[in-house]
């Protein structure tokens, strides 16, 4: 009898929590509090990863490390030159916008964050990063790496955040295909190597190898950031939309650090 009562009690308590957390934001402060409380444990639990990295570095021969350093220095010099050219282009772009009387586009600051936890399950592709409100990360901030867009932040605490990857089955984003210019919605299918492009008409001239870029619609992702490459296009001739498979460009399965940028706040239209 007591067990039955206990079962009913805990079932009711859990049910109330589920309803409350699903439908309201009342438990968000509790979640933030627990997250802050657990942060030292999460950092501590990374010792095995850090030790593995240290062991890997220690195992490398000195000559190889020197070669790696030289390569990185050469690459850094190249990047510095490219950065100069990029700054020139930004200045030129600003002048042209001025001439055309277009609104100025805000340059969003970018912060580098470390991935502390990964949660890859069929229903959730999420990561926990070590930057939060105090570092300028906001809800809906964009995550990307050197190759492409990775996802967006959906929950922010003071010093850490949870982000949803573009491969999460509940994630979708507006995109544009290059060079065809066709637009569609790129959705996750719970696979780190595959995305599904939806709502692209079968008549669109889309072929494997086309670049998938952010379209800027929706007001969160900036325009023109690479997301993936079309790998397969299936058309049946009987349906309105083509079945398009896309491979993400970002290194989602090996990421350690991510770049975080505030969501677009000013549209790039006059």
């Amino acid at each position: 009898m007591r067990r039955r009562f206990a079962f009913m009690f805990f079932l009711g308590l859990a049910g109330a929590l589920l309803l409350l957390d699903y439908n309201t934001q009342w438990l968000d402060p509790v979640r933030r509090y627990f997250s802050n409380l657990l942060l030292p444990t999460i950092h501590m639990s990374r010792w095995s990863v850090d030790m593995k990295d240290q062991a890997h570095l220690q195992s490398l021969p000195k000559e190889e490390l020197i070669q790696q350093l030289v390569r990185l220095e050469a690459r850094a010099a190249g990047r510095a030159f490219e950065l100069q050219r990029l700054n020139q282009l930004i200045a030129e772009n600003a002048r042209l916008r001025d001439v055309l009387e277009l609104r100025e586009v805000q340059q969003q600051p970018v912060v580098v964050a470390q991935v502390l936890l990964t949660r890859i399950q069929p229903l959730a592709h999420k990561i926990f990063i070590d930057k939060g409100l105090a570092d300028g990360v906001q809800e809906n901030s964009i995550l990307f790496d050197a190759k492409g867009v990775m996802g967006q932040v959906h929950e922010v605490s003071e010093h850490q955040s949870w982000a949803t990857l573009i491969t999460d089955p509940q994630h979708a984003m507006p995109v544009e295909l290059m060079p065809s210019g066709a637009r569609g919605v790129l959705a996750g299918v719970a696979s780190l190597t595959e995305l599904r492009l939806q709502y692209v008409p079968e008549t669109s001239p889309v072929v494997a190898g086309d670049q998938v870029m952010t379209s800027g619609f929706g007001g969160r992702f900036p325009v023109g950031y690479p997301v993936g490459v079309v790998t397969k296009v299936s058309t049946s001739g009987e349906q309105s939309f083509a079945d398009i498979q896309v491979t993400p460009l970002a290194a989602l399965s090996t990421m350690r650090f991510v770049l975080v940028m505030a969501p677009v706040s000013v549209a790039e239209t006059p």
Binding site: R3, F10, A14, L17, L18, S48, T118
Partner: protein
């Protein structure tokens, strides 16, 4: 009256299992999906040995922490832990009189049933999402074998009275 040794075991194993679960979340994507939920396994281990109501509160609270770590809706893991604990506490008297192998088979069956139920629920309710079934069951069973092998010699189940009574 609780034995100091058993309380010590509980105080040590649960935080260790919790840290091990967090560690399994930062081992890279390939490993994350292969490693079992160590905390659940340790909760199962102690649920077969503790009959007190306070243990239900403990597992409920641990479920909330687990929900925080998994960024899951609050209550989801807690209720799962409470159901598992109540099932095992009810089955405890029967488990006491069977061999360790039969006990293991019972736990394996329970893991399979829980994973299977989750699999079916998601197939039917959440737009037919195909939840993997074999890998989590196998990793959980292997994890249970390890947990049981490590802790059973110190805290055997084949006793006529509750360890904490």
């Amino acid at each position: 009256m609780r034995s100091g040794s058993e309380s010590f075991g509980l105080v040590i194993t649960i935080p260790l299992a919790f840290v091990a679960t967090i560690m399994s979340h930062n081992q890279g994507f390939a490993m994350t999906s292969l490693l079992p939920d160590w905390l659940s396994l340790v909760i199962i281990f102690w649920a077969m040995r503790i009959t007190g109501q306070w243990y239900l509160w403990l597992v409920f609270g641990l479920g909330l922490l687990q929900d925080t770590i998994n960024n899951e809706i609050y209550g989801y893991t807690s209720i799962l832990y409470v159901i598992i604990t109540l099932l095992l506490q009810n089955a405890r008297l029967r488990l006491l009189v069977v061999s360790p192998v039969t006990q293991m088979v019972f736990v394996f069956s329970m893991i399979f049933v829980f994973q299977g139920l989750e699999f079916l629920t998601f197939r039917l309710i959440r737009n037919g999402v195909n939840l993997p079934l074999v890998t989590p069951v196998l990793s959980a069973c292997a994890g249970w074998w390890l947990v049981d092998a490590l802790l059973r010699p110190v805290y055997p189940l084949a006793q006529k009275k509750d360890l904490f009574s």
